[in-house]
C-alpha cells in the first residue's frame, strides 16, 4: 500500500511532466530534453526554457530524476527507479483509458 501511494501521488501526470520523464530514460541535459520532447511529438509540444528548468528542479527534488554528470556546465539528468515506476503506472492508466474508450466508442458505431 505504501509503495502504491508513493507512486500514486504523482498520477495523473501532466503532459509536460510525462514527456520530460520519458525523454530522460536516456541521459540528457535541459535543452536536449526540450528538443527530444519536440521531436517525439512532431513539433507539437514545445516546452519553454523556464518551464523545463522549473520542472527539472521539482522532479529532482521529488527523486523522479537524478543528476548524473555534466557537459560544459550543463547538468545531465536521468530517470530514477521511482521515475520509471511512475512512468509505468501512468502508461497503465492511459492504456486502460484508451482500451475502454475505444471499446465503448466501437459499441455505438
Amino acid at each position: 500500500m505504501a509503495e502504491k501511494d508513493r507512486i500514486g501521488k504523482f498520477l495523473p501526470m501532466s503532459e509536460t511532466g510525462f514527456y520530460i520523464l520519458l525523454s530522460t530514460l536516456t541521459e540528457r541535459h535541459g535543452y536536449g530534453i526540450m528538443r527530444e520532447v519536440a521531436d517525439m511529438t512532431n513539433g507539437r509540444l514545445n516546452i519553454g526554457a523556464g518551464t523545463i528548468y522549473g520542472t527539472l528542479s521539482k522532479m529532482e527534488a521529488e527523486k523522479l530524476i537524478e543528476a548524473c554528470g555534466e557537459i560544459e556546465r550543463r547538468k545531465l539528468y536521468k530517470t530514477t527507479e521511482l521515475g520509471n515506476a511512475v512512468l509505468k503506472a501512468e502508461l497503465a492508466r492511459l492504456d486502460e483509458m484508451v482500451t475502454i474508450g475505444k471499446r465503448n466508442m466501437e459499441a455505438i458505431k
Binding site: T16, G50, R74, K75
Partner: protein
Amino acid sequence: MNAKKMAIKWWMGCDADKIESWLEGQAQRGLRLESVAFGGNVFRFAEAEKEGCAYGIDYQPNAKSDYEALFTDDGWTLAGKNSGFYFWRKPYKGQKPLIFTDKESLIARNRRQVAFLTIILLSLLSGFGVTIRRSATNPSPYLTALIGVQTGLAIAIGAVLTAFYVSTRRLRARNS
C-alpha cells in the same frame, strides 16, 4: 555608437506580462533592452533595428549553475539581470516563443516572489514591534516618524502580496 535611452517603470512581479509586452513594443520601435537596474525598474535601451522580439521575465533568486546555459541553448539572450529578475530576449518571426509554457510554472514564479516578500514583511513587522515598544517607554518624534514609515511599507508589501494572491487564483482557474 548607438544612442542610449532610459526609462523608469514601476511594476509588480505579477504584472510581468505587461512589462514583457511593453518591451516587445519598444523593440518594434527600434529600442533594444540593454540592461536593467534598481530592482528591475530602471531600463536602459540602445537604438537598434526594428524587430519582432519576445521578452520573458523570470524571477530566480537562487538560480543553479546551468540555468543561464539552458536559456542561451534555446536561443534566448540575457538582456538584463537585477535583484533576482532575469530579462530574456529572443527575436522571432511567426509563432512567438515563451519561456513559460504552462500555468504551473507561472504559479511557481509567483510563489518564489511571494516567499521573498513574506520574509521582508515579517522582518519589517518584527522591527515595527521593537519601534512600538521603544516608543511606549521613550517617545520621540523620530520614533513616531519611523512607525509611520514602517506602517506605510508594511501596507505597500501587503498590497503587493494581495495582488500576487489574486494573480495566482486567476492562473489556477485557467485551463492550461
